[in-house]
Symmetry: none
Subunit: 210 residues, 4 copies
DNA sequence: CATGAATGAGTGTTCATTCAT
DNA sequence: TATGAATGAACACTCATTCAT
């Protein structure tokens, strides 16, 4: 993922030693904590360093500027998310389409919900960022994984899988995010989740993919 | 819509005279332009005033602080959007469900696409804002309009319309936003739009609403 | 008193008509109220005008700038104070020295204490002002009145009355102000007042004036 | 003295290293210079920093806001003054009362006169400040010192020393300040000083303390 | 004359970034 | 290499004053 980072957003050094990794982790953790606690406009480099237990100078050794830190944080988050989705996809190779849909929704939904505050905080971070590359790369990675999964479905007929895949991914991810942004009461959220799965199945049945 | 604004975010005076309205419009326009051109972090009160052709002081006469300006801008945008959606809903009272779906998707899609840069700029603005109230109010307004529309459908069977309505709205809006955030090539976007309509229809058929 | 005002601090027009006097009074009153309530740094021309029930423009008709307003306010205050002192002095022409001392202390003490908040507020106002002329003029007026009074004392021997007068006035006024600035408990204040009178009498006795 | 500072007026860090002390001194000095030269309303943080030869940022490292700077300046001034008075008091332990009076007047008078402009400038500074605590603490310290001195007088009879002490301190300090505010010609000032001492002696004699 | 909207220089304060130690 | 004091451009916001209506 970091390979797609625009030159000026790259972290200064890839941490190879254990100490460096620990430092970077501490910085990330501090950033998230502050973001969640105080919102993005109270996030200052000094505070991050302080909370992370390092000096500003040291922080600038790892991240040449604030944007780079935020960029890396987002990259890492999307990386983890990609991995989860890929894992789900791999785990469902050869399964029936309905199971795939359910698994995909569940994975994404849980990822967003588990640490909702972090998710929200990261969204807010994106403003100061040129993260199109990040998103595009994330999308590509996910598309590949889901496409491969769907292609392997036990009950799939060969059709325009690419289009179906794009539709499903966009609809699922978009819906989850939207559901997540409105402050719906938990029962409504649950219901929505069920309806979404239902809708995707209906779609697959109607397109004749299945 | 402005009635939901938290006290501290309220605009200072509602412009009654023509000149005042023109000033406020100029300020809004300037804000949008700067937002689109330079991004949110270069948006300073001084620059907005300058570009709007008024003095900072004048600006502060209308908006007690920067947040209030941004808030008002968002409120206005959502207001216009609400109106469009409501218009569409009213125009399709009594129509068949499929036509409603198509109309709803088209309205929302066009609204987002017409001035895509503005849309994007406003999204980025929301970070510095406590706009939950705004979003909630927007959602409520839209929900009401669409629900009434769906209830009037010529081919609707009485069912759990509220749930169906929430699902459709969330899916449509979420999908559009997501499609919009990925930089998909126009043909893919078009295809996606068709698929989305198709999906909604399949969902309605499957739920037995129709 | 206003005759000593430096040119640039002069009020714009001497109010001759009843309406004008009322306006000026309202402005003065508003100023004092705001000063007492919010302190000098929250005293803005707009707020004064608003509270006084006139427009800023009108206010600027009477006072060419903020300093002029403050200057005039101080002048008026000192004018009233001078008059009180003069009245006391006249009333005690020919009285014995001790009675004069007591009367002088009482008059000044009461004037400061009656509306302590106003007094304090005005002191704080003086910072932004070049009020030396005001003070000098006040001092001269008071000196003349007290000197004349002391000269008329039934039990005065002719001596260096000018020096004695200066001493008494300076000591009394200085002590009152100092007592006033420390937040002494009322009993201590009362005691102090008695001691001050006692001290002045002892001084007069010792200098052989009496 | 600094221990009495309200929390929000506290200086940010107590300078321990030589460099820091020098910086703080430079800031204080610059403040005084500007205050004397241009008056309090031209005293801006930027100008202070500039004149002190540091950046604004550095200044804010030592003083969290302008008020804190002014507060610290006053505190320091009163601290020095307290020390001078205490020194005088200690130096006259066991002396006769008249000598004490003379010494006290001289010390205070000189302190005020030596750098009259600074004194005046600091007075004007107090307006924007909540310095009651400062004044109270100063008064308490001085009261204690003078009381101890008077109690040790070789010719003192035991009487209500506390009251006498309060009276003397208030009268002396008040008179000096008042004399100082009127722009008396130097000979008059000198005469006044003599009369003040004379008055205090007469008071002591009359009260039977001596 | 009275009004009060408009002005814009000026203010206190922040914070990403650097660099001497 | 790590530190954190120093920097200073940049910002949001105020308010005395003016002048078109």
């Amino acid at each position: 993922m970091s390979s797609v980072a625009p030159r000026h957003l790259k972290a200064r050094k890839t941490p190879r030693q254990a100490r460096a990794t620990a430092t970077v982790d501490a910085i990330f953790e501090a950033t998230v904590q502050l973001l969640v606690a105080d919102g993005p406009h109270r996030l200052t480099t000094t505070r991050v360093a302080e909370r992370a237990g390092v000096s500003v100078g040291t922080m600038y050794q790892y991240f040449p500027h604030k944007q780079a830190l935020l960029y890396a944080l987002n990259a890492r988050y999307l990386d983890v998310l990609s991995e989860k989705i890929e894992a789900t996809c791999h785990a469902h190779h050869g399964a029936p389409l309905d199971a795939m849909i359910d698994a995909l929704i569940e994975t994404y939904w849980n990822a967003k919900t588990e640490r909702a505050d972090v998710t929200r905080a990261l969204y807010r971070t994106a403003v100061e960022l040129d993260n199109e590359a990040l998103i595009e790369s994330f999308a590509a990675r996910v598309d590949a994984a889901t496409l491969a999964m769907f292609a392997s479905a036990s009950d799939a007929k060969e059709r325009d899988l690419a289009s179906v895949n794009l539709t499903l991914v966009t609809v699922i991810f978009g819906t989850v995010r939207n559901a997540f942004e409105r402050n719906l009461p938990p029962p409504a959220v649950e219901a929505l989740r069920g309806q979404l799965a239902w809708m995707c199945r209906a779609y697959l049945a109607a397109t004749g993919v299945r």
